[in-house]
């Protein structure tokens, strides 16, 4: 796995003279104005991704991980969603300040997205060839014939057998895994710099999940793309991600290298997530879970947002919100992050046991 990719291999030439991060979300704030009140869905989220790098964004449903992605793509439903602050810089340019037309042109060509449920994300009444070819025809002005040829090539690239026949078929004629491959093929059409995959394998069988993840990883390395992998599934992440950002209640609560994070998580929420992975060596024991429910975003708890569910919570957690503490190349939003970092035990030694696959080195 190429950890070196963090150094931004400058393959792509567009905006070449910019030497910052490829895509950078900076202190993003988003709220949903509903009839029950204002839900603060994203509260100062920052993360970035570079060429050839995979960032995994981890969190429960409602943590704001998908909303962040939609905001980056500019496909947030407004209303009810409103961006109330922050910047999203793609190659150094703040997309939130761009015209609608400029943003439209970045979609698919600069930043593309793979959605969770390919069956509903693909249009049921058009053939997959039409839907992929549409990108070439409408965005690049190709002829129908050329576009079809390119669509066949893409289907071949994502390893769909008989692409010449299948290009004429409708989405419901594909199996779940094949449909997700179509979705991936479509997202690759315009050779984007960044690919956002929003729970790309959640709707699939376990065996197919691995194939899709492998495909994504392979294509990402081949094309030196930045990949943002949004998931709630820790198992999916370990093999693929370079860095992990854990989100909770619209905030990043921990960010670290993948291996570091698994070995020694420094936020009680991450620890809880790792604990709730079923383990072979602890068979027969009750599975550890995180008590309680994610907070309502209409009434975010005071202090540390995680304190009502945290077994380590102290008085300070109820009153003061912890900042994102720099622990030397990794960050944690916990008052006791230093203590957690300095503890002797390594999470992996206890929790991951011989599950080698989870540690990717």
């Amino acid at each position: 796995m190429s950890h070196a990719a963090t150094q931004a291999a400058p393959k792509k030439s567009a905006g070449a003279d910019y030497d910052g991060h490829l895509l950078e979300v900076d202190d993003l704030h988003v709220e949903f104005r509903t009839r029950d009140g204002v839900a603060k869905v994203i509260n100062g989220v920052s993360y970035h991704v570079d060429h050839g790098e995979t960032l995994a964004v981890l969190g429960e449903s409602g943590s704001g991980k998908s909303v962040t992605a939609q905001t980056i793509m500019g496909i947030l439903d407004t209303p009810p969603g409103f961006v109330t602050g922050g910047e999203i810089r793609f190659k150094g340019v703040d997309m939130l300040k761009q015209s609608k037309e400029a943003r439209r042109k970045i979609r698919a060509a600069g930043i593309a997205m793979v959605f969770q449920d390919a069956l509903s994300a693909l249009n049921p009444v058009f053939t997959v060839g039409f839907q992929i070819g549409e990108l070439f025809r409408k965005r690049l002005g190709m002829s129908r014939k050329e576009a079809r040829q390119r669509a066949i090539e893409l289907l071949d690239l994502v390893k769909i057998p008989n692409p010449k026949e299948r290009v004429r078929q409708y989405p419901h004629e594909f199996s779940g895994g094949m449909r997700q491959r179509v979705m991936i093929a479509m997202s690759l059409a315009l050779d984007p710099d960044v690919l956002i995959a929003d729970e790309p394998t959640t709707a699939l069988d376990v065996t197919v999940q691995a194939q899709i993840m492998d495909l994504l990883k392979e294509i990402q390395q081949e094309r030196d793309m930045g990949l943002i992998l949004i998931t709630h599934d820790l198992g999916v992440v370990a093999d693929v991600a370079d860095r992990i950002a854990v989100m909770y209640a619209g905030r990043i609560v921990e960010e670290a290298d993948c291996a570091t994070c698994y070995r020694k998580p420094c936020h009680p929420y991450t620890i809880g997530l790792l604990n709730s992975i079923p383990r072979m060596d602890l068979k027969g024991q009750e599975l550890a879970t995180i008590k309680g429910l994610p907070p309502s975003l209409l009434h975010i708890p005071t202090g540390c947002t995680f304190h009502p569910r945290c077994p380590m919570a102290q008085e300070i957690c109820r009153t003061t919100e912890p900042p994102l503490l720099d622990l030397g190349g990794r960050w944690s939003r916990c008052h006791f992050a230093e203590d957690l970092k300095n503890r002797d035990q390594e999470q992996s030694a206890i929790y991951l046991g011989d599950q080698k696959g989870l540690i990717s080195e």
Binding site: P268, E286, K291, P295, T302, P308, P311, M312, F336, D339
Partner: protein, 325 residues
């Protein structure tokens, strides 16, 4: 790892530094969930409805027409049958704000008294259609198979008759068009004709709603627990599948008021001495250019009554349809 709630291993290492708090259960959770008590479909709908002017306008209209149907004397003290041939087709004058009809009777009084039969026919027909269509729909949807096939085909037979055409044939068969006949019998036949020709649409809607509900987990669970067919249908499926039917029935009430008027207008439905908006409009049609009030006043009453029920149905539909939220 005996305490599943806490991060037990963390405790082992951290115990000395941070005396662990007793775990914070939901009871100690901050008031995050307080104001979001689970809202059911109907209480949710009621929340929406209360805020809609459409709803209040429709309720006002319905209340007015209901009162008019039950206590017409609240609205007018003029006898709708009293006539003064010297005033036939005369326009408005003091005490008779909407003028006189062909026989010199007060148009306003006749319009007020006309509410009774229209509302009655509309209400009973809507209830009948809701019951027959609902029952057929729930049985067809729940049992499926050949019962569904037979019921659906029977429905298709009636559905295959264009409404007005079917109604004309039905009514001409059972009410001799050349005689005036017994008013009660005529009302019953009109209601039955509407029900017979309209129930298939209601059955279709109910059937698909029931089929959708049948798949849900709680119905499967009830079946697994050995509940009988009747119990599952009445207790589990009906309450969850009935909302589209209720909306449709409300709208139909209004539509049937209009249908009654149309049939009376065509001369195949109600006929004098029953006072009906449709008959009044039919009588007035040839005098449109010399005495438009004779047609416009009952037409306005009729339209307002239909509007009231249609508006209520639409408002409820918007409120309970999650797709439109």
């Amino acid at each position: 790892m005996s305490d599943p709630g806490a991060f037990t291993n963390e405790r082992e290492t951290e115990e000395q530094q941070h005396a662990p708090e007793p775990f914070l259960g939901e009871e100690e959770a901050p008031p995050s969930g307080k104001q979001e008590k689970a809202r059911g479909l109907w209480s949710d709908a009621w929340y929406d409805l209360r805020r809609k002017p459409l709803f209040w306008v429709s309720i006002t209209l319905i209340v007015i027409f209901m009162l008019m149907a039950l206590f017409p004397s609240l609205f007018t003290s003029t006898d709708p049958y009293a006539f003064d041939l010297s005033k036939r087709t005369d326009g408005p004058e003091s005490g008779h704000i909407f003028g006189y009809d062909l026989q010199g009777r007060d148009v306003y009084a006749r319009s007020v008294y006309g509410a009774q039969v229209s509302i009655l026919v509309g209400l009973v027909a809507a209830l009948g259609v809701g019951l027959v269509g609902g029952a057929a729909g729930i049985i067809a949807g729940y049992y499926g198979g050949w019962i569904d096939a037979v019921l659906s085909r029977i429905g298709d037979v009636f559905f295959g008759l264009p409404f007005v055409l079917g109604a004309i044939v039905l009514l001409s068969t059972f009410i001799d068009p050349t005689k005036s006949g017994d008013p009660t019998k005529i009302k019953v036949v009109v209601i039955l004709a509407i029900v017979v020709l309209s129930w298939p649409q209601f059955a279709r809607v109910m059937r698909s709603s029931v089929i959708a509900t049948k798949q849900s987990d709680y119905v499967q669970a009830a079946r697994a627990l050995g509940a009988g067919h009747t119990r599952i249908m009445v207790r589990h499926i009906l309450p969850n599948a009935i909302s589209p039917l209720i909306v449709m029935t409300t709208i139909a009430l209004g539509v049937f008021v209009g249908v009654e008027a149309t049939l009376s207008f065509l001369g195949v439905g109600l006929r004098p001495p029953i006072i009906s908006w449709g008959i009044a409009i039919s009588d007035a049609q040839t005098y449109l250019d010399i005495a438009p009030h004779m047609l416009l006043v009952p037409a306005a009453f009729l339209s307002a009554a239909v509007l009231g029920f249609v508006m209520l149905g639409e408002a409820v539909r918007e409120a309970i349809d999650p797709k439109l939220k």
